[in-house]
């Protein structure tokens, strides 16, 4: 079950009030996410957060909240060529920042609106930063895109702040504040272009008002200019009269009473307004007042004259507006039409009320909106529109275990198994090296292979060796590092390390390469994961050759090292990111045994050629199955004492010390085994001897008499009357019908059940919607453009629509390349299909202070599992065995003395 949401619907009436009332605690506001907020999104545990802006919050039918978000890209997500452009822009801007004279603007475009002189002291140019600050600034730069996608709101991991960089601002103001980012350029993932997010004021006779003389008109000209302002306007009312306010008020009251009287006389009105009060109310509408004011003005503010005119010879004046004019049947017609056509008033008029003018209809509509009828309709609509949320409450995310490395970790061995990803066509990460994989919570086997264990390694970011928690981290395939907690959170937020590391050197040489070559390889083209291009380097420690294309690398592996490198291998984390201890490696299974012969060590510790990629992987899980190779099975047998497989199965989080295992497996007598022998070893060694049924039967038959009297009595059936009656009958017999047959409750048909069980969960699709792009006449590039624009983008992006949420049909174009199907799992264990709502509420996942939410159990909820913390474990130990068993049997029942010290939401981890 996802976090529980506090919902505030887009009800205009209450928005202001409700918002005020919500500020009851800081935590509340910090976790309250609104439309328009900038947030971190976690899409994969190993890669940095993605930064998004919430455009819409929608509640899905199954009670989850989906956020329609606008994407921001980090520098590292951009293709290399564009990074260079961005750098150029940066330096251009830097120049314009620090320059004292009003030189050309950012990218040197001929612009009239160029930046003006600035005495440099107000802002810190990029050039004035230290190298470290420069490095960190790069993490703060984002690139806006007009790309919109939909993500589950539970992936939100906190708020941040993204602003358009203003040239007066110092970069330090960003560096010194956490979670602040800036952007200057707009990245178009589809076209792979950068452009400045800047409209322009066009200059030329086609745009400016012409004929602006340099001075006002001369006297003579003024005379020839329009003399007669009477033609321009008609006076309706003037305050320059001799009446007092009191007199005007009196006159207004009189005209209202005349109106009431007129309605009493008017037969059509008296039918509609049977009571005096109704007539009086009708006579008090604004149209009567306007008429009174007009009358006063017309008669030169002479009260007596005006009163006379209220009651001409034809009878008292009757002013009726559309509200009153319309008959009940017309009103019904209108409502019917409104239901049919919506607010298409010309259609309504044409098809339903042709005798009214369009203006009549519109005027009536706006008055009708004040009636009870409308309020009722609105209520119905409000229920319908409940799916649109204004804000959503998401509790803090507590799953820290994403890619954590236990301090004792070495190379893992328990996961001597291969994960074979099942290709998912919707996954843009497919076919590229992407993986964040943890072998049973340890770092990848790769590091063990290359570095022989990373015990004692310091943090890659800050070189510290002390941290409460360690995280496996790598940006490229060949180096495995780990990060301390602070560096890890820095990495997650800003997508880099605090200081330039070895990785950046690699980046730098890549950049050099990119300047020389075109640097266009086929990869990273997908807008969803368009990461920077990295060379493919052979991971065998002595080799380290680099290849431009992955195909070349795999050929190299095959020829030089005799390894089968699967280019198309995608490895996903095990379900839940941290749960099962499953390793992964990309060596082909087919050749595994062959490899084993040549290099036993390699096979025993499965290597992980494609270690964690820095690329943001949108998708966290793909379907996989675990295939345990004969070798792995053999190793398990051999090292059964070390592994303690039962214990390991019960505690999949705990790392297994691989060193002794490796020692055993690489011992000479084991390494000498042939594959066939290994297979034998892998077989279950101790088949349990069970006696055959025939033997037992014949043995029983050999004793015709019980050896002792009464020994076989237990075999006799007890008479029904003598049977002990249970205290509580779980399944009482149904009542009997008069004819003696039992009346059973209707059992659902198979098709019904199928319909319930088989309904596949609708996967929340991440739709990539390119924002409105409509062709627009080319602007003359006269001013205010950045030099980049003409280079990178021949087509200047249209200005954003004034209505950002106005979607047209063109708007919704799911781009096939970018769409990612979030493989939301099927029904999870905590959501039994026969789900009883009360059971749901008692599962320890409900937050005490949160609103209970009844979920529709037809749709698959998100995965969750219960993570036992130390406190809960301690609490468990306090329970007696019987209590514990009872609790296990009936998990929905509340424990007698729960003694919960930890907050309940700490224990629930939501995975999706």
């Amino acid at each position: 079950m996802p976090a529980e949401y506090h919902e505030l619907h887009g009800n205009h009436e209450n928005a202001n009030l409700a918002l005020g009332g919500l500020q009851d605690s800081n935590n509340m506001t910090a976790n309250m996410y609104r439309v328009g907020d900038y947030v971190y999104f976690e899409t994969s545990s190993g890669s940095p957060y993605q930064i998004r802006r919430i455009e819409e919050l929608n509640k899905t039918p199954n009670g989850n909240v989906e956020a329609k978000v606008m994407c921001f890209f980090r520098r590292r997500d951009l293709p290399q060529t564009l990074i260079m452009l961005a750098d150029k822009h940066q330096s251009g801007m830097d120049e314009s920042l620090s320059s004292n004279n009003g030189s050309a603007s950012s990218a040197g475009a001929a612009s009239n609106g160029s930046s003006i002189g600035n005495n440099g002291s107000t802002s810190t140019g990029f050039g004035e930063l230290t190298a470290k600050q420069r490095h960190q600034m790069k993490h703060r730069e984002l690139f806006l895109s007009r790309q919109v996608e939909t993500m589950p709101a539970t992936h939100i991991r906190g708020k941040c702040c993204v602003t358009l960089l203003n040239e007066t601002e110092s970069f330090l103001s960003y560096l010194n504040k956490d979670d602040t980012f800036f952007y200057c350029l707009v990245f178009d993932p589809a076209q792979r272009t950068l452009l400045a997010d800047k409209g322009e004021i066009r200059v030329g006779s086609r745009y400016q008002a012409d004929n602006i003389s340099s001075a006002p008109l001369t006297l003579a000209e003024r005379e020839t200019d329009r003399q007669d302002s009477k033609e321009l306007e008609t006076l309706i009312w003037t305050p320059r009269h001799s009446l007092t306010d009191r007199q005007i008020d009196t006159f207004l009251v009189i005209s209202r009473s005349v109106g009431t009287f007129a309605r009493a006389l008017d037969c059509s009105s008296s039918v509609k307004q049977p009571s005096l009060h109704m007539s009086a109310a009708a006579a008090s509408r604004d149209i009567t007042l306007y008429n009174a004011m007009d009358t006063l003005h017309r008669l030169n503010y002479d009260i007596a004259e005006a009163m006379n005119s209220l009651v001409p010879n034809s009878g008292p004046v009757l002013c009726r507006d559309e509200m009153e004019e319309w008959s009940a049947s017309e009103a019904n017609l209108f409502e019917e039409a409104l239901e049919k056509y919506g607010k298409e008033f010309s259609d309504i008029r044409n098809d339903f009320l042709p005798w009214k003018s369009l203006k009549n209809v519109i005027e009536y509509y706006y008055m009708w909106k004040t009636t009870d009828r409308y309020v009722q309709q609105k209520r119905v609509k409000a229920v319908e529109a409940e799916s649109k949320l204004k804000q959503v409450y998401i509790p803090n995310y507590n799953n820290k275990a994403g890619a954590s490395v236990q301090p004792t970790s070495g190379g893992g061995i328990i996961g001597q198994s291969t994960i074979i990803p099942i290709p998912n066509t919707n996954n843009p990460a497919n076919g590229k090296q992407t993986s964040v994989s943890i072998i049973n919570g340890s770092s990848n086997g790769d590091s063990a292979l290359l570095l022989g264990g990373n015990n004692g390694k310091t943090c890659e970011g800050c070189q510290t060796s002390q941290s409460p928690q360690w995280y496996a981290w790598s940006t490229t395939a060949q180096v495995q590092c780990r990060l301390c907690q602070t560096c890890w959170s820095y990495w997650k937020k800003y997508g880099g390390l605090k200081v330039p590391s070895r990785m950046d050197e690699i980046d730098a040489c890549e950049r050099n390469r990119a300047t020389t070559g075109p640097g266009s390889d086929d990869e990273g083209k997908s807008p969803g994961s368009g990461g920077p291009q990295r060379p493919h380097r052979c991971s065998v420690s002595t080799c380290g050759k680099e290849f431009k294309l992955k195909a070349h690398l795999s050929r190299h592996y095959a020829s030089a090292h005799g390894m089968d490198f699967r280019a198309g291998n995608t490895v996903a984390t095990a379900s839940g990111g941290q749960s099962a201890g499953i390793g992964s490696h990309s060596a082909g299974i087919g050749t595994e045994l062959e490899l084993l012969k040549r290099n036993p060590e390699l096979t025993i510790i499965p290597c992980n050629v494609n270690a964690g990629s820095p690329r943001p992987v949108m998708k966290t899980r793909s379907a996989f199955y675990l295939r345990t190779s004969a070798l792995a099975r053999a190793a398990r047998r051999i090292c059964a004492n070390q592994i303690r497989s039962r214990h390991a199965a019960r505690a999949p989080h705990q790392p297994i010390n691989a060193a002794p295992l490796r020692h055993i497996c690489s011992s000479p007598e084991f390494a000498r085994q042939s594959p066939a022998e290994l297979r034998v070893l892998a077989r279950a060694t101790r088949p349990r001897l069970r006696p055959r049924v025939a033997d037992i039967a014949s043995r029983l038959g050999n004793h015709p008499q019980p050896s002792q009297p009464g020994e076989w009595d237990w075999l006799q059936l007890t008479a029904p009357g003598q049977r002990k009656q249970p205290e509580h009958v779980s399944f009482p017999r149904p009542p009997k019908a008069p004819d003696g047959s039992l009346l059973y409750e209707r059992v659902p048909n198979k098709s019904d059940i199928d319909g319930i069980n088989v309904t596949p969960p609708i996967p929340p699709t991440l739709q990539v919607q390119p924002n409105l792009k409509r062709p627009r006449p080319q602007f003359d590039e006269l001013n205010g453009t950045d030099g980049i624009m003409p280079i990178t983008l021949p087509l200047s992006g249209p200005p954003p629509s004034k209505r950002p949420h106005h979607t047209t049909s063109r708007d919704v174009l799911p781009s096939p390349s970018g769409s990612v199907v979030n493989n939301s799992t099927g029904p999870s264990h905590s959501m039994p299909l026969n789900g009883r709502p009360h059971a749901l509420q008692n599962v320890p996942m409900s937050r005490s202070n949160a609103r209970k939410q009844v979920m529709s159990w037809m749709d698959a909820p998100d995965d969750l599992y219960f993570r036992a913390t130390d406190q809960t474990k301690k609490a468990r130990r306090n329970l007696s065995l019987i209590e514990l068993r009872r609790a296990a049997r009936k998990p929905w029942r509340k424990l007698a003395n729960p003694q919960r010290t930890a907050r309940p939401d700490d224990m629930v981890v939501i995975l999706d």
């Binding site: 209450n14 202001n16 609104r34 328009g36 603007s105 009239n112 609106g113 003006i116 702040c161 203003n166 040239e167 007066t168 103001s173 997010d197 800047k198 409209g199 322009e200 004021i201 200059v203 086609r206 745009y207 400016q208 008002a209 602006i212 003389s213 340099s214 001075a215 006002p216 008109l217 001369t218 006297l219 000209e221 003024r222 302002s229 321009l232 306007e233 006076l235 309706i236 009312w237 305050p239 320059r240 007042l289 306007y290 004011m293 919506g342 607010k343 369009l358 519109i362 005027e363 004040t370 009636t371 409509r774 627009r776 001013n783 205010g784 200005p799 954003p800 629509s801 004034k802 047209t808």
Partner: protein
């Protein structure tokens, strides 16, 4: 500022009772109905009777082509929902169809909106009024031959062009949450109009309005853009609005002001992202009004219509200088204002992304730009309006003659006003060489005026209640003091 509340002004208000019945289309956020809602509130608040109410004429194509291209206006005149298909190509060219749909009575709507602003400008030119209000106007996105952002005909540009006939320098201020790009573009290359726009910038319609856009050619430094971020609240807004406008008034010295009061900068607007309350929005009006310049107020954006009508009602009351109750009076659309039925709204708790440092930096940058302005631009051609001004005065007097109630004070004001032009007469004396001596000359008539003030007070005593009088007196004093302070500050600058 609150003192200024009491200074009564002659206010003309333009409204056509048809305007509420134009309908942009289903789901379109722009609703002319908000203007009618405002009007009804004004009537029931009793503000209606304190103003001159005019029904504007329908602006002719001739009037509109003073700015717009003939082709574009011809297109607007001929397009209708039933013949749209014949105009596909032109619709694309003129950007009509998407944000700016073709609806029934489109052209009439433009005529009324433009007619109001033009008539108001003429009214100000004739000095028949001090403040003119046209909530149906303010369509600041419309370009010379292109519709944009729900705007087809730029009534503001037409109004300013009209004002330019009588005024050497016109100041345009735009407090809509969107950039006033149409007006800025129209006057981008002239030094006779300064456009000052406060707007959300960055990833926002219309995308223009960078701090670095300052005008071009002769108009360089005459476009002032204040790019803001989400969540501007009352205090932040005032902290940037007041100093900027003060500085602009000092350096540019306009003789007429146009204020676009787009209400989409209010909190909770359907399209906006600021956090202003009605009070904070109205403060801008109050502040500009203090300068006692011919003042044209127009509407603009605003898409949560109940707040728009609240805002404009309040601002009308500010223009009139009469306070109104927080309780909304009953009116035809009373139910729209539930559940609280109050005039004022409270801000939301959204985060303000505009830090004081950011605003400070923007401000100092803009001050630098304003320092580049030559003092008293266009001085060399001021000799001509001088004559005109006198005659105009006579004209105006003729106009007002039948109306006995025009107070002496108004005429005095006019004299003071004329003084702005009179200094160019002194130019001939050879006395004026630099701005300092120019000021010195200017001060003389001002002193005269001060000595005349008691007369004005006496006149006023007849009409105004005695208890208000002292305050008015104070106002007058502070007014003139303010003005003089400003002049002093400027001459020293």
């Amino acid at each position: 500022m609150s003192q200024m509340q009491h200074s009564r002004k002659r206010v003309c208000y333009y409204y056509d009772s048809d305007i509420g019945n134009y309908y942009y289309g289903q789901g379109h956020p722009m609703k002319p109905h908000r203007i009618r809602m405002t009007h009804n509130l004004l009537l029931n608040y009793g503000l209606y009777r304190k103003m001159e109410i005019y029904r504007p004429h329908k602006a002719t194509a001739d009037e509109m082509t003073k700015f717009h291209s003939d082709e574009y206006i011809r297109f607007l005149r001929s397009i209708r929902p039933d013949n749209m298909t014949e105009y596909n190509k032109q619709m694309q060219r003129f950007n009509v169809g998407e944000d700016c749909p073709v609806f029934d009575g489109l052209y009439e709507f433009c005529q009324l909106s433009a007619g109001g602003s033009v008539a108001a400008a003429v009214k100000l030119n004739k000095q028949a009024s001090e403040i003119c209000i046209n909530w149906g106007g303010g369509l600041h996105h419309a370009k010379k031959s292109e519709a944009s952002g729900f705007c087809y005909v730029n009534d503001i540009v037409l109004g300013i062009l009209e004002l330019l006939k009588y005024h050497q320098r016109v100041l345009y201020i735009d407090i809509d949450v969107h950039h006033g790009d149409g007006v800025e573009e129209a006057f981008y290359t002239t030094d006779r109009v300064m456009t000052v726009s406060f707007h959300k910038y960055g990833e926002y319609f219309p995308g223009t309005g960078d701090l670095r856009d300052i005008g071009a050619g002769k108009g360089k430094y005459y476009a002032v853009n204040i790019p803001l971020r989400d969540g501007m609240d009352d205090d932040s807004y005032e902290s940037i609005f007041v100093p900027i406008i003060t500085k602009v008034m000092e350096t540019f010295q306009p003789s007429a002001v146009v204020l676009q009061c787009g209400a989409d900068s209010l909190t909770g607007d359907r399209l906006g992202c600021f956090n202003l309350t009605v009070k904070g929005h109205g403060k801008c009006v109050e502040f500009v009004k203090k300068y006692n310049l011919p003042f044209l107020m127009v509407g603009g954006g605003g898409y949560t219509i109940r707040n728009v009508s609240r805002c404009w009602t309040y601002e009308t009351s500010v223009a009139l200088g009469s306070e109104i109750a927080n309780e909304l009076p009953y009116n035809d659309y009373f139910e729209y204002f539930g559940p609280d039925f109050k005039l004022h709204i409270s801000p939301s708790n959204m985060a303000n992304q505009n830090t004081p440092e950011y605003l400070e930096k923007i401000k100092s940058r803009l001050f630098e730009n304003l320092r580049m302005l030559p003092h008293a631009p266009g001085v060399q051609v001021q000799a001509i309006p001088e004559d005109g001004a006198n005659v105009e005065d006579i004209e105006a007097e003729e106009k007002i003659n039948p109306d006995e109630r025009l107070p002496q004070r108004d005429i005095d004001k006019r004299i003071q006003h004329e003084n702005e032009f009179s200094d160019s007469e002194d130019e001939g004396d050879g006395g004026r060489r630099d701005s300092r001596s120019y000021k010195g000359v200017r001060k003389r008539p001002r002193l005269d005026k001060n000595s005349e003030n008691p007369d004005a007070e006496v006149k006023k005593e007849d009409e105004s209640k005695p208890d208000v009088k002292t305050e008015i007196e104070k106002d007058e004093k502070t007014n003139t003091n303010n003005d003089e302070n400003k002049k002093d500050g400027m001459s020293s600058a």
